[in-house]
């Protein structure tokens, strides 16, 4: 398919726009009437869907940007060059989602800049805030050649392309710290977070699972866009990603099991409570099943097999972030006497963020040279 053949006004687009409009209204309502009026958050549950899905999940889903960026620009593995642009653009949308949601989630959105001037280096949240700002800027810089190319600004284009390895390294550094620091956020609450998730190794687990997710997410996008935009999927790249996925998910599986055995023990994971069932669900969907499937040659070398594993990993890893952010504290919070289930406005805002990312990506593909399609 050529770029000019991509139709922008399809029924899907209309649905996405409607969701975005509704979500935008919900976001406005939240800004004017407060968190109490728009969300189900309460004193027992200060963090909910927006932190767990949009921020923890969104950032994890954006990990492809640094993994592929590092592979192509630092390891100089040029085989993966064709997917570096979509991966980085996707990361940019992931971070935009996280940054927008955290702005809506904090009590006073127009003070979002406070951490940048009121430094408090003991706080992981401060580290997180600095990283969001620096890395979103880095991603914008990494994506800027797309715009410069479009506007025919050769000088700017050449300059950014020239310093790209440095920017990519900076991006890798920020991501390593940022992905892990989101796990480190929960280190402060050992008496609240269920031992199924609480561990001093939480930052490492977040980092490794982000890499697993990155490989699957990039592979998923590559296959999906080859279907949507009707071009031949680059099999050698997909096979390479699947091989990488097998290795890193093996490492993650070992880490998780080691953590379970040296921590609370297997008993806690199989006691039939909601907490343990959610843990098992995350482990089976996100780690065990993908690992078994990927270790089968038949699955790993076949397009549909890879695609199915990708979906499992995406769901499983996002579930992990939701578990850490919400379910891990359910048992403790239950004793405090409050429940939490996201309000429809919380869902709507989150859905609007996803719609924005999908539509934004599509528009970028049409007008910018993301997939290097013919014009």
């Amino acid at each position: 398919m050529k770029q000019k053949d991509i139709k922008l006004f399809t029924p899907t687009t209309v649905v996405l726009l409607l969701i975005m409009a509704a979500g935008g209204l919900a976001a406005l309502y939240r800004v004017f009437f407060g968190l109490g009026a728009s969300t189900q958050l309460n004193d027992t549950w200060p963090w909910g869907l927006w932190i767990s899905f949009d921020v923890l999940g969104g950032v994890a889903l954006a990990a492809g940007g640094f993994v592929i960026g590092g592979t192509v620009y630092i390891l100089n593995w040029k085989k993966y060059e064709p997917i570096v642009r979509p991966a980085i653009l996707n990361a940019f949308f992931g971070y935009a989602l996280a940054a927008t949601s955290i702005t809506l989630d904090i009590g006073v959105p127009w003070r979002i800049w406070h951490p940048l001037v009121m430094w408090q280096v003991n706080s992981i949240m401060f580290i997180v805030a600095i990283h969001v700002v620096l890395y979103t800027t880095t991603l914008a810089t990494e994506s800027s050649p797309l715009i410069f190319e479009k506007l025919n600004m050769r000088k700017a284009f050449n300059f950014v392309e020239k310093i790209m390895p440095g920017i990519a390294l900076f991006g890798v550094l920020l991501s390593l710290l940022h992905q892990s620091s989101l796990g480190a956020v929960f280190l402060i609450a050992p008496e609240k977070v269920s031992p199924l998730w609480y561990s001093s190794r939480l930052p490492y687990l977040f980092l490794v699972s982000a890499v697993v997710l990155a490989l699957s997410m990039v592979s998923f996008e590559t296959i999906l866009s080859s279907r949507v935009f009707k071009h031949k999927p680059p099999m050698d790249i997909l096979l390479g990603l699947a091989r990488g996925s097998l290795i890193v998910s093996g490492l993650y599986l070992v880490l998780k099991l080691w953590d379970l055995i040296t921590g609370p023990g297997i008993g806690l994971a199989v006691n039939g409570s909601l907490t343990s069932n959610m843990y098992l669900l995350e482990m089976i969907i996100g780690i065990i099943l993908p690992f078994i499937l990927l270790s089968m040659n038949k699955v790993r070398t076949q397009l549909n097999g890879i695609f199915s594993v990708n979906i499992l990993v995406i769901i499983g890893t996002v579930l992990n972030r939701m578990n850490v952010g919400i379910i891990s504290m359910a048992e403790y919070n239950g004793k405090m006497g409050h429940d939490y289930f996201p309000s429809w406005m919380e869902f709507l805002v989150t859905m609007a963020m996803i719609a924005f990312a999908i539509l934004g990506f599509k528009i970028s593909v049409k007008y910018l040279n993301v997939l290097k399609l013919e014009h």
Binding site: L35, D43, F170
Partner: protein, 332 residues
């Protein structure tokens, strides 16, 4: 696309400068673990508490003035919020309008005061003013700070941007949030810091008729608490009222205490100390709270950041330099 080593290093250095500057802050940035010598606090003795809730009423009254923990421009005292209407604020838990609450816990037939069996006990819940507060350590904007002199964990609503990380971090579930307001703040006891500055002391202690809550320097409160644990149940003792060094005493027989001063070691120690006749778990305190400093857990991560930055830049640059030429033959 080509780039020489100098260009590369320059980019990496410029880009990382900001980050390095923030990460290279000396280890002294981690929190103090020492009780300030002049630190003040409260000793609550559940065996003396009669559940009159005078402390709750006066807490609201004296904290609804400018500088108080419940003050809000244009808002009356929280329990008088609906003017003209009969409104009875009978708070059963901490909230954005209640930073001090008296609760009662019962077991069995609940006839024996301060007895674990078929008994009941009051408990006064508010901020414990940790010596090394987790809430202050996690606050990204420094809205929650520990006063270096009084040791009070104080809050600056103008700095706070509302991430609510303090609520996750507090092992005692103290900070509450004004979800109902469009421009909300965190609400928690600040030990009547505004009154202390005027030469007064915590309202809950001033208006406690039995001496269940007494105000004083933490070192003195610790001595008083230790002394009470050595008393023989049934013997008479002159319990000080209002403040630990008060001349006004209330003479009454000593109840049987659980041999534990809560707050001496919990979460590294707190400036609010509690005595009771029943186990503290029973009174709603989480048994998983350890005697360690919580901020150490996150500092262990933060302290590694400078090394990670240096390591990643070094290894990354080396890798780039080594692999730079791997595609030379293949490229155009």
């Amino acid at each position: 696309m080509s780039m020489n080593r100098r260009d590369f290093l320059k980019t990496a250095a410029v880009g990382s400068g900001t980050l390095l500057a923030s990460a290279m802050t000396p280890a002294s940035a981690s929190m103090s673990k020492e009780l300030p010598p002049e630190a003040v606090g409260i000793l609550y003795d559940a065996t003396l508490c009669i559940g009159c809730k005078s402390c709750m009423v006066n807490c609201k009254t004296y904290n609804s003035v400018p500088g108080g923990a419940l003050h809000l421009q244009g808002r009356a005292i929280a329990y008088e919020e609906k003017p003209g209407e009969a409104f009875w604020d009978s708070a059963t838990d901490l909230s954005s309008k209640t930073v001090n609450v008296i609760k009662v816990n019962k077991s069995g037939t609940a006839v024996n005061k301060d007895s674990p069996e078929n008994g009941y006990s009051f408990i006064k819940q508010h901020c414990l003013h940790c010596i090394t507060p987790a809430c202050a350590s996690v606050c990204p904007v420094g809205a929650l700070t520990k006063n270096p002199v009084s040791g009070v964990v104080q809050y600056d609503g103008k700095k706070c941007f509302g991430c609510r990380y303090c609520m996750i971090a507090c092992p005692f579930n103290i900070p509450r949030y004004e979800y109902e307001r469009a421009i909300p703040q965190v609400r928690k006891c600040q030990l009547c810091q505004h009154r202390y500055e005027e030469g007064k002391y915590s309202a809950c202690c001033e208006f406690c008729p039995t001496g269940a809550s007494i105000f004083g320097k933490v070192v003195d409160l610790r001595k008083e608490a230790a002394k009470r644990l050595t008393l023989k149940p049934g013997d008479e003792y002159d319990f000080p009222v209002q403040t630990v060094g008060s001349k006004e005493k209330s003479r009454r027989p000593v109840s049987k205490y659980i041999n534990h001063v809560y707050g001496l070691k919990e979460a590294g120690g707190t400036q609010y100390l509690l005595l009771a006749g029943v186990p503290f778990e029973w009174l709603g305190f989480n048994k998983n709270i350890k005697d360690t400093f919580l901020p150490d857990l996150t500092w262990a991560y933060i302290a590694k950041i400078p090394a990670v930055i240096a390591g990643v830049l070094l290894v990354g640059t080396a890798t780039w330099a080594i692999t730079k030429n791997r595609n030379k033959g293949k490229e155009e």
